[in-house]
Structures are given as structure tokens and as C-alpha cells.
């Protein structure tokens, strides 16, 4: 049995919160820079150029890429052979977030109660998704999520007879309704199958997948490609001001579901699609 001390977890989560907010993952950065070359709309081209410049300024002048430095979403794949020493794991994760948001000059955007709405002033708690897996490693993904785009996300409980066409319609409708609000160009994370809550978590997880990596399922891979093309024909464009670059990528994750159901969750993320992964 391998031991990991929570001090190590705290330190890593702190660093990952900071890294995610100052430097975009290379796959997302390349897509933004590449889109600027391909965009025909004048205003769209100009906005994409500003987004590229924004990434340079963030890195060089140590200013977060976006002022909404997000609520910290943490995925933990915990090898079942690991023993955790120190404080309890949830406290450790939140301590990492606390230190990261303080030392990284990141915005504290969390309120303790959704109706009373007092700011917790340290950006905790985060939202933690655990998965127990075989082995003796711990994989941590930190994905700070902004809410301009989160607010434009949707869940559909479709009928099996709606099929692939229904899924496509749901995704396109969500993107159309999001329009300029979600800060396009967006990244679209989709979860299909499972149950009401499972498809939502899958959609969030889909956002953490590398944009150059397609689904391993052939029919889903084709769906990802077709939907991306159709989204980019909507004409929403960068900033919602017209153009062909409405989405940088569509990632779909699936799970078995019930004979009576076809749940679909669409989690929209802006172009600041932050995700940092480390294996301890």
C-alpha cells in the first residue's frame, strides 16, 4: 500500500489552480490562435486576435486570463491501493483551493448559500468528483469553471425515439440560446446516457478532454465532427458578433442508460477552457 500525505495534495492543487488561470492548456491555445487565421468575418478576426493578445498579456504580466477565475471543479481518480495520510481528503482539496486563490491573486467567486449569498472570501468549497480506480496512483484534474458559460448549459431528458437527431437538435438549440452570453468561441461538453445527474457529470468531464482527442467510439467521433461543423454554420461567431468560429471543439462522453431514457447534458464553456491534470 502506497501512502500520499495530504500536504502534497494541498501543494499540487494550489499550484494547479494558479496555473490553470494564467496559462491555457496548449490544445485550447492552439485552437484560438489557429481560428484567427481561418475566420473570414472582419470583426470575428479582430476579436480572435484580441483573445490571442490577451493570452500573451496574461502570461507575461501575470494577470489572470479572465476575471472570472471560476469555481474550482476537481476530478480525482483515486487508486484503491493508496492510503491517505494527514487531514481528511476533502479538507485538503479545499485548503489547496484556498491557498491557490489567495496566493494566485484569483477572484473569490463563491457564496456560501445560494439564496442568502454571502461570499466565502476564499473561493471554497470546490466541487469534487471522486472516482475509485485500480492501482496506486492519484490523478487530479483541476478545472476552474466560469459561470457566464455555465449559466447557458442545459439538460434534456429525451425519448429513445428522439435518437441521434434529437441529440443534435438539443445541442444546437443550447448553443443558439447561449449566443453571445457564453463568450464564444465556446467549447461544448456533452454527456449522453446514464441518468439525470450522470449525464451532467459526463458533460463536465468532456470539457476536460484534450480538444485534439476524439472519442474512441466511431459513431460518437462522427457525431462530434458533424455537430462542430453545424455549430460553426450558425453564424454566431467570436463574441456573438458574427463569423464562422462559434465553437473550438465538441467533446462527447457516453454511458449506458435505461431502456426508457436518453438523457443529454450540454455543458458550455467559454474559450477560457481551463483544465490542468497531474498524477501523484
Amino acid at each position: 500500500m502506497r501512502s500520499i500525505h495530504t500536504d502534497e495534495i494541498i501543494k499540487n492543487i494550489k499550484e494547479m489552480c494558479i496555473e490553470a488561470n494564467y496559462t491555457l492548456a496548449s490544445d485550447v491555445e492552439e485552437k484560438i490562435r489557429g481560428a484567427a487565421q481561418k475566420e473570414d468575418s472582419k470583426i470575428g478576426k479582430q476579436i480572435l486576435a484580441q483573445l490571442s493578445e490577451n493570452l500573451d498579456i496574461a502570461k507575461n504580466d501575470l494577470i489572470p486570463i479572465c476575471q472570472d477565475t471560476g469555481m474550482a471543479i476537481i476530478f480525482i481518480k483515486l487508486g484503491q491501493e493508496i492510503h491517505i495520510e494527514g487531514v481528511n481528503l476533502e479538507e485538503a482539496v479545499n485548503e489547496g483551493i484556498r491557498q491557490g486563490y489567495e496566493e494566485g491573486y484569483l477572484r473569490k467567486s463563491v457564496v456560501s448559500d445560494p439564496l442568502i449569498r454571502n461570499n466565502t472570501k476564499d473561493n471554497t468549497p470546490g466541487i469534487i468528483h471522486y472516482e475509485i480506480v485500480p492501482g496506486s496512483q492519484m490523478e487530479i484534474t483541476v478545472a476552474p469553471k466560469g459561470f457566464g458559460s455555465e449559466n447557458m448549459s442545459r439538460i434534456y431528458m429525451l425519448k429513445p425515439s428522439d435518437g441521434e437527431e434529437g441529440v443534435k437538435r438539443a445541442i444546437l438549440e443550447t448553443v443558439r440560446l447561449a449566443g453571445p452570453n457564453a463568450c464564444p468561441p465556446i467549447v461544448v461538453g456533452v454527456g449522453i446516457g446514464g441518468s439525470f445527474e450522470k449525464c451532467a457529470v459526463l458533460a463536465k468531464k468532456a470539457l476536460t478532454r484534450d480538444l485534439d482527442k476524439r472519442s474512441e467510439l466511431k459513431h460518437i467521433q462522427e457525431l462530434e465532427e458533424v455537430i462542430l461543423k453545424e455549430i460553426n454554420e450558425l453564424g454566431i461567431g467570436p463574441g456573438g458578433l458574427g463569423g464562422r468560429t462559434t465553437a473550438l471543439g465538441v467533446n462527447i462522453e457516453t454511458y449506458p442508460t435505461h431502456i426508457a431514457g436518453l438523457p443529454v447534458a450540454i455543458n458550455i464553456c467559454c474559450h477560457v477552457n481551463r483544465h490542468v491534470k497531474r498524477v501523484l
Partner: protein, 180 residues
Amino acid sequence: MDRYINAPLKEEIVKELKAGDYVYITGVIYSARDAAHKRMYEALEQGKEIPFDINNNIIYYLGPTPEREGQVIGSAGPTTSSRMDKYTPSLLDLGLKGMIGKGKRSQDVINSVIKNKAVYFAAVGGAGALLSKKIKSSKVIAYDDLGTEAIRELYVEDFPVIVVIDSKGNNLYEIVMQSS
């Protein structure tokens, strides 16, 4: 069309602005977002005053990140405007002349923009590092307890925005979707 204008706004200038114009703003503007709007709205409902003279001024829907030593302000891009829709017509009636944010507005807000000859600008969402460079001074003037959501007086120079809804009610987001 590129326009260089000053803040606070003048009605004759606002009336010349057209949906789709690129505008560079220089002067004093005020930041306020969800919590500050709620508080101002409640103050007005109780017959109290809001903490700054809103007449002819611009509100920027912003909650910045904390600044490092030597920086004027942290990352400072726009937040989604529609969350302020409920509170906006009252502020426009009070003399608010311009708003900077991102995303769609309600029909009530659009009607109020027309009625009050105001203007709604969008700044580029997710370009907070770049936009922070256009802010030359920043000072919290009210609701300090709200942290990032406090009201700030900002001095901006050539702050880049695009006219989305002009004083006649033309809406760039609609125009763009109709032409695609």
C-alpha cells in the same frame, strides 16, 4: 466606424452612435455587477440615494480579480449583462447613459434604452488581461464589503467596446444573426 468618445457621456454623442460602431472610451466609468445592482435597486425602492451621481455616466458590469502590487487592477473583462436586466430600467430612468457588458438584454431594457436615449456596449468577453491595461486608475467608492462586487470608480483610456444596442434600439446581435 471607429469613434473616440469621452465619459461621462453627452446625449448628442450617444445619439450619433450606431450598432456596430467600434468605440474607444476615455474618462471616468463605474463598475457594478449583481450584488451592487441589487443593493442600489433596493435603496431606490426605499426612497434612498445610490452612492454616486449616475447622471450621464457609464456602468461597467465588472468584478475584477485582486491586483498585485504595482498593478492598477487585476483581470477586468465584462460579465454577462442579462443578470442586471431586472435592475437596469430604474437606473436608466435615473440618468444612466451607458452600459458595458456582454450578451443579450431583455426587451424591457431595450425599450428603456430607447426611451432614455442611452447605449449598450459590449466588451470582448474573456479578454480580462488585455482590458485591464486600459484601466489607468481604480478606487472602491461604495459597498466595500462586497469585495469584487463593490462599486469602483475607474479611469479608462481608449477602452475598446462595440455598440450593440444604440439609442434607436438597433441590436447588433440580431442584425448579425439575420444576415448569417
